[in-house]
Amino acid sequence: MISVPVSLVVVVPMCASLLIAVLGLTKYRCHWHISIVATFVSFIASLALLYNTLQIGRISYWLGGWEPPWGIEYVIDYYSGFVLVAITLVSLLTTVYAATYVKREVGESRDLSFAILNMLMVTGLHGIIVTGDLFNLYIFLEITSIAAYSLIGAGKKKGALVASFNYLILGTIGAIFVLIGVAYLYMITGTLNMADLRAILPVHYDSKVVFAAFAFITVGLAIKFALFPLHTWLLSAHSLAPAVVCSVLAASILKVTAYALIRVMFTVFEAGFTLEVIPATEILLVMSIIAIIVGGILTAAQTNLKRMLACSSLGQMGYIVLGVAIADQMAMTGSILHLLNHSLMKGGLFLIAGAIIHKVRIYDIADMKGVGRKMPLTMAAFTIIGLSMVGVPLTVGFVSKWHIAVGALKAGMWYIIPVIVASSLLTAFYFGRVIRNAYFASEGSDQGSSSKAHDHAHNQHGDRNSESRSEAPPGMVIPILIFAGLCIILGTAAFIPVSIAEKAAIMLLEGT
């Protein structure tokens, strides 16, 4: 048992951002070192916190020593501990990547401000997970979003500015919906502390105000994590931003908003209310199925690599909601696992897209021929993660799909299976296309013969995969490889995340 204050994961990045800003005034530049150290400290702290939680159960931290429900409370339980580790890990890896990437792709002049905003975003992300206070949740949500709006616009593409603006408008509407919901709950109960709300609310479960609050918060968060009909902003924002920002957007921001939704549905309200009193799960079930199918079809139609990756998030977020909507313990476990697993997969994929753009300036899938030979490590990572997205066994993607599918069957919802199958096939199609393009240099028959002649010449000294390798710098390749490696490690030693996620699911569904 290592004693770690919960506030560490929030305070350290926040202080780091201030420190970077202050040091930025001097000539001495070490902003990325500070960022990496701060995210690394957060990651280690989150591991320690998760460990402690598994030992002793729920950890509560009173901010400033004020006793809840008056003061703000930070909470680590199985659920938040699990997600916190995932998000701090993504923060760490993307920050490492950004240290190399931003200077080269975004520009020297924006390097410093990028680092500051990145740290603020990380602060917000970690805050959303640990907070046990609804209003505080709103604040962290907005801190994250404001930093994200600015970072999206930081890229060189001017389309990113418009995308960022649209995201800002819709994101703010979503946030304010959340605020309205919080206001309603406060009207009824006079408290903002989640645990306190949980205790007081059951008396008011038949009140229309509570219904309205639930609806506002759900819709507000659903806008933020782009559940199907509310997804319009996502495509351009997630594809035009600098790759490292895309990675954080898809891997962290979508995840923490989905996290917050599950938090509200099952911690602020009781599972009994969410599942029985109101038809929320039925609506979410239908919406998530549509999201999975339509998201898959939309993705298959994309020609731009980053846009394809952005689009595939729609279906993947659908999976997370699907598991929640099935509301079986096993499916719920699958959802919580998918929060982690999709973070690893999509975070890695966007970083790979960034590396490819950085190295060979390829944006379209059709142009990717021969990338597999030029960047063997990067494309190997892409292949592994692609297989994981399809749900091939021994990767993380399989673990979450298995849990959601078996959970659905247990709950008697056999019609979920064709949906999962169809989406797996679509995923196999659109990732297969990229991998095929990347590995097989030539397609046309005339090209084939010419490249063959070329090969004959090369065969004298061995095979041609040795020719002109040019990987991205190690600062970018290493995070990519860690993401891909984790996809396999956590897919093989899956009992580690599964056992924690199972505890979290039981806690959420049964309230113990």
Binding site: I146, K158, V162, L168, G190
Partner: protein, 126 residues
């Protein structure tokens, strides 16, 4: 009718929310959208302020013991917490407005216009 008058403060909030949403949805001018966003936000702030008031409520200030005899009856006071929350929310709102306006300025530099339709046309042409 009675409902409308009795709860007039809520109606004001609702009207403001609708005005804000309307402005955001219909106008193609990006600055007008930001204004709409602000109206929308402010309306929700008002809602939170409204729910904290009490009739005849005073400032929520702790009265030192030696002056307590000046107030023979216990006084109802306004709940301070929503006010604190709104103070924070206003800060958030201002920050968002700042970011939004900064984006509008950069859009104007990049495209030479702040009209949504024009931008879409330029994007299509390129």
């Amino acid at each position: 009718m009675e409902l409308i008058i009795a709860k007039h403060y809520y109606w004001i909030v609702i009207i403001l929310v609708l005005i804000g949403l309307y402005a955001m949805m219909t106008s193609t001018n990006l600055v007008k959208k930001v204004i709409g966003l602000n109206i929308f936000q402010t309306a929700v702030f008002l809602l939170l302020i409204v729910i904290s008031t009490k009739e005849g409520g005073t400032l929520p200030i702790l009265i030192p013991y030696e002056y307590l005899h000046l107030f023979p009856d216990p006084v109802p006071y306004v709940n301070p917490l929503p006010h604190v929350m709104i103070l924070t929310a206003i800060v958030v709102g201002v920050s968002i407005t700042a970011v939004a306006l900064a984006l509008v300025i950069r859009i104007n530099i990049a495209y030479g216009t702040i009209d949504e339709d024009e931008i879409a046309r330029i994007e299509q042409d390129s």
